[in-house]
């Protein structure tokens, strides 16, 4: 151990945790390869003479005495063209290529590179040789998919005089496309891709306060608990409450340029569902398959646990990279609980002192650090981009007081609580409108008022009041039945029912209802509220409420969400007129009696 040339070897193996010696050959968070099969791992602890390695693959058959190879770099991802539309595992191994190589089952060991080296990209430079370039500056661009133009940037940390840049033409990832001489006379040869450590946030110039909504096409979210570009949201819900469907809906319809979807410790068949759906679905704005703007990270529950821990960092790093090009990126992590459990599992194997429920004491700080990577920024290139983080949480037994849900609640700005009762009545999305919240309401109000309708805020507040009043009355109804209520209170119950059935409830499988743009949301709510307000006249005239609920227009209101896309306000207007006509007729008939 005196010699620095001593080859490090494995001394102990317990599942994904491996110890190696001598420790001084490694640095913290360095990437290593273990054994003859070169299993990928990361140094997570350095003690006097022992290094602890978290191995991202199955360690069965690994023996003490096996060689460990230090890679000299922290765990990194490759950032460059070829990411879009691909599916990777938690440590960026390309799953399609893996399948081509080894067949239908995932084996372990070396895989080659994350991004294809043989693919040719048509690069167009946008700066001239001799220019001074700064970190993050855009050197040129290339078409990555029909939807995404990939901008090639000077990697963070590199600057100087552009000595050479290639002319417009076809290049592969291995070609040097530019040479930069730094002020200290160091030569940097740039390629179309660079590497970046996953656990390190990518630098930006300035952080902005989120102010634009990220439209998701889901009414209960956009109208009641809106998310902002660059914001954070948590979706907690027990199993079967529709968490995954909600995440899928968001990844399909969220108004972002790019979606990164991380299946972290989730079901294999569900991941397949995403893979089958995305190429078939069309982006409502561009009419191109959604897969062309989506990057998938899949580390299903039967894949190695340590890679599950890494998967959310892999995903968020890729998201930041596209943010730096000036894109709005939405990242869905399903589920952060599985990530936290991976953390717990590894911590347990390290025999660390556990905090709540066996989770390590650093759970809260890791969660906080993850959600801090969201934000709308001015990137180093001067472009505005954002990363919006949406994390699903799977609380054990649906109990929101468990550590992961509790801590997530502290760090997210939108909280969409999924409800078991609603889910068992197949009421979807099962977002509980009393428990959920969003702190972005005031931030996005100017946008709604200006772009959609100037009564947005009042409409929203009136609706929430009705729902709250309804939940208070429901307590009485539970004890005494609906019949016991006077008509003005029944109006609230009936009104809330309309809001719940015809507005909040939204069918993910219905071709029209699955996506509702802001205009449709506004118009639909406006119609429903108009009806509820007119019901007050019926009550005032002492007409039994059920007679108003039997009017033909009620069925028309039910139908609206399935038939209208909201691009034409006409039908909504005529329903409003019909409401007035029928209610007036009802009132008139009463008068003439």
């Amino acid at each position: 151990m005196e010699s620095t040339a001593q080859q490090p070897i494995v001394t102990m193996i317990s599942g994904p945790v491996v110890k190696a010696r001598p420790a001084h050959r490694f640095s913290m968070n360095e990437m290593v390869e273990v054994g003859d099969e070169r299993l990928v791992g990361e140094i997570i602890d350095l003690d006097k003479d022992l290094a602890t390695i978290q191995v991202y693959e199955d360690t069965t058959g690994l023996r003490p005495g096996a060689d460990v190879y230090a890679k000299g770099l922290p765990l990194y991802v490759e950032l460059g063209p070829g990411l879009m539309g691909e599916i990777f595992d938690g440590v960026q191994r390309p799953l399609e290529i893996l399948r081509g190589k080894w067949g239908d089952f995932i084996r372990r060991g070396k895989t080659g590179t994350a991004l294809p080296r043989d693919k040719v990209w048509q690069f167009t430079p946008s700066v001239r040789p001799g220019a001074m370039v700064l970190p993050g500056e855009i050197l040129g661009e290339l078409p990555e998919s029909h939807l995404i133009t990939h901008r090639i940037m000077v990697p963070p940390g590199v600057q100087g005089t552009l000595e050479h840049i290639v002319p417009k033409g076809d290049y592969t990832l291995d070609d040097v496309i530019a040479v930069i001489r730094s002020p200290s006379d160091k030569i940097h040869e740039l390629k179309l891709f660079h590497r970046w450590p996953v656990r390190k946030i990518r630098p930006y110039r300035e952080r902005l306060i989120p102010s634009e909504p990220l439209i998701t096409g889901q009414r209960v979210i956009d109208t009641f608990f809106p998310l902002a570009r660059g914001g954070t949201a948590g979706i907690p819900g027990g199993f079967g409450t529709g968490k995954t469907v909600a995440q899928h809906q968001l990844s399909k319809w969220a108004d972002a340029d790019i979606v990164v979807y991380i299946g972290c410790g989730e079901r294999g068949n569900e991941m397949t569902g995403v893979l089958v759906d995305l190429p078939k679905l069309l982006d409502p704005r561009t009419q191109r398959p959604l897969i062309e703007r989506t990057i998938l990270i899949a580390n299903t529950s039967d894949m190695p646990v340590a890679a599950r821990e890494a998967s959310i960092y892999t995903g968020v790093t890729i998201a930041e990279y596209y943010r730096d090009m000036g894109y709005d990126v939405a990242l869905m992590a399903d589920s952060t609980s599985r990530w936290a459990e991976a953390l717990r599992e590894i911590s347990g194997r390290l025999e660390e002192m556990p905090a709540e429920e066996g989770f390590p004491a650093y759970l809260a700080s890791r969660l906080a650090a993850f959600y801090e990577r969201a934000g709308q920024v001015v990137s180093l290139s001067g472009k505005k981009g954002s990363v919006t983080l949406i994390g699903a949480v799977s609380p054990p037994g649906g109990d929101f007081s468990e550590p992961v849900t509790m801590h997530t609640k502290r760090f997210v700005q939108c909280f969409w609580a999924l409800d078991k009762e609603l889910a068992s009545a197949r009421y979807f999305p099962a977002i509980n409108y009393l428990q959920s919240y969003s702190v972005y309401i005031s931030a996005v109000e100017p946008w709604w008022t200006e772009k959609v309708g100037n009564t947005w805020r009042t409409l929203r507040e009136k609706t929430i009041n009705i729902l709250q009043e309804d939940s208070r009355l429901q307590n009485i109804v539970k004890l005494l039945g609906e019949e016991a209520l006077p008509d003005d209170q029944k109006r609230i119950i009936e009104g809330a029912r309309l809001i719940k059935n015809d507005f909040l409830q939204q069918g993910a499988l219905d071709p029209v209802d699955t996506y509702a743009g802001p205009e449709k949301q506004f118009l639909l709510l406006d119609v429903i509220l108009h009806f509820i307000e007119r019901l007050a006249d019926v009550v005032k005239a002492r007409i039994p409420l059920f007679r108003a609920m039997e009017l033909p227009v009620v069925a028309e209101i039910h139908r609206l969400k399935f038939t209208q896309r909201g691009d034409d306000p006409g039908p909504f207007k005529s329903i409003k007129e019909q409401i007035d006509k029928e209610i007036n007729a009802l009132l008139h008939r009463q008068d003439s009696l």
Binding site: L95, E345, Y427
Partner: protein, 466 residues
């Protein structure tokens, strides 16, 4: 360093674990043969290994082992079994894959590591072939599809075994010409339960297509950790090499989890909820995820795991973590069972996540999804009305709510309730569902399209006029 290494003497024996020191050249997870002085060898697996100490879990338990005289042979390979169609189907084995039926030990097939490998998500085909089980609560409202893992959450004393055998007998999957097999893995199951499964397979004439792996209640606990993996290894071979449709029944997963807890505790691991190890989720996933369909391969694995919820508590870690991995669950309910309803399926907490792609036009019927959704909404409301009625009495309910009470009764008596041999077609199930919703006033049917309401109304009027 290849080949077999033999050591004499154990350093420590603790619960199901033994510790051996001075060991070299042995790999993590490899298999160990432990030979006590009486010569009857036992099997074990390496749980952790350092430069000189190996911790081994002994599947048959450590009782009777003596420290100085026990010999330990390190076989230098992971736990493997030999799989083949001919030598495995129609047979009965113990929990470690040794024949119990007096037949020969399989030797002609292919050697396979029982831990399997994760299926690459891009290689999976999305399951969407409807399986008719003949049980209305499942077919109509929680449809099972080929390649799905749908467990039964039950409680002690509830008829989950009857339900499982009824599914095996009736599932359409089994009556088609394509090859099929049933793999039965029992963990800590009583003799009579195992026997009644065997009889039921025999009665329905499928026995020659069944392989049973039995770890019975009085068999060693640690062996339970191996049994489901052996069963699934055989299933994978039959499904993905032989192109058969395989139905795997695993019972009782609660016993499996308890064995896991026992080993974890003996190792002195930091416990998580209720003393179960922190990796219970990953461990269960390594079993449940071994189901599915692969692109361009004919066969499939459909998994029905049975677990008894301790104290009927669905939030207990075992059902809870299971529900997060499987594609839904069928929940049995004690109060329904006490009212004499069979199968006592409580549809409200039950769920089939793959249902929406397995039903509809060309698979079952076009209106299936809406009808199921309407039945759910109506039944959920009906249960609320039942609670209300128990407080204020039935008389004071509104006219509509009284209709909901009728709906709930009809739902229990006509839809849920069926004989243990009653095999309902999907058409019959949907007809029944359509008749039921027509007990409710039309404005309550918000999940149905007007033309669907018309259709059910016509059918009902027809039924009444007959």
């Amino acid at each position: 360093m290849k080949g077999i290494l033999e050591y004499i003497g154990l350093d420590r024996i603790s619960g199901p674990l033994v510790v051996i020191s001075g060991v070299r050249g042995v790999g993590f997870g490899e298999i160990v043969e432990i030979v006590p002085s009486d010569g009857l060898s036992r099997q074990g697996r390496i749980l952790s290994i350092s430069e000189d100490v190996a911790v081994v879990e002994v599947f048959e338990g450590t009782s009777g082992l003596a420290q100085p005289t026990t010999r330990v042979r390190f076989l230098g390979r992971p736990f493997e079994i030999i799989v083949s169609k001919e030598e495995v189907l129609g047979r009965i084995f113990d929990g470690l894959g040794r024949p119990l039926d007096g037949g020969p030990v399989p030797f002609r097939g292919e050697r396979r590591n029982i831990n399997g490998l994760p299926i690459n998500p891009v290689a999976r085909a999305y399951p969407q072939d409807f399986i008719q089980t003949g049980i209305s609560a499942i077919d109509g409202m929680n449809t099972l599809v080929r390649g799905q893992k749908l467990p039964i959450f039950s409680g002690s004393g509830l008829p989950h075994n009857d339900l499982a055998t009824q599914i095996v007998r009736q599932a359409r999957l089994l009556t088609e010409d394509e090859g099929f097999a049933v793999i039965f893995g029992a963990m800590g199951v009583r003799h009579d339960e195992a026997e009644s499964f065997r009889r039921s397979f025999e009665k329905s004439g499928v026995l020659k297509n069944v392989a049973m792996f039995l770890n019975l209640a009085d068999d060693p606990t640690v062996e339970r950790l191996i049994t489901p993996r052996i069963a699934l290894t055989v299933a994978e071979y039959l499904a993905f090499e032989q192109g058969m449709h395989v139905l795997v029944i695993l019972t009782d997963m609660t016993n499996y989890c308890e064995a896991l807890r026992e080993v974890a505790t003996s190792k002195g691991e930091v416990p998580s909820r209720k003393g179960y190890p922190g990796y219970l989720y990953s461990d269960l996933a390594s079993i449940y995820e071994r189901a599915g369909h692969i692109i361009d391969k004919q066969g499939s694995i459909t998994q029905i795991a049975i677990l008894t919820m301790p104290d009927d508590d669905i939030t207990h870690p075992i059902p809870d973590l299971t529900g997060y991995i499987t594609e839904g669950q069928i929940v049995l309910d004690r109060s329904l069972a006490q009212r004499g309803i069979y199968p006592p399926i409580n549809v409200l907490p039950s769920l089939s996540r793959l249902m929406s792609d397995g039903i509809g036009e060309g698979r079952t019927r076009k209106d299936h999804a809406n009808l199921a959704s309407q039945l759910y909404a109506a039944y959920a409301h009906a249960r609320q009305v039942q609670r209300l009625a128990s407080i204020i009495g039935e008389e004071d309910l509104s006219a509509t709510d009284k209709l909901y009470l009728t709906f709930a009764r009809k739902f229990h008596d006509r839809f849920l309730q069926q004989g243990a041999d009653e095999n309902r077609t999907i058409t019959r199930t949907l007809e029944l569902g359509g008749e039921l919703v027509m007990f409710l006033p039309e404005q309550e049917l918000t999940r149905l399209k007007p033309e669907e309401i018309d259709q059910y109304g016509r059918i009902k009027r027809l039924a009444v006029s007959h």
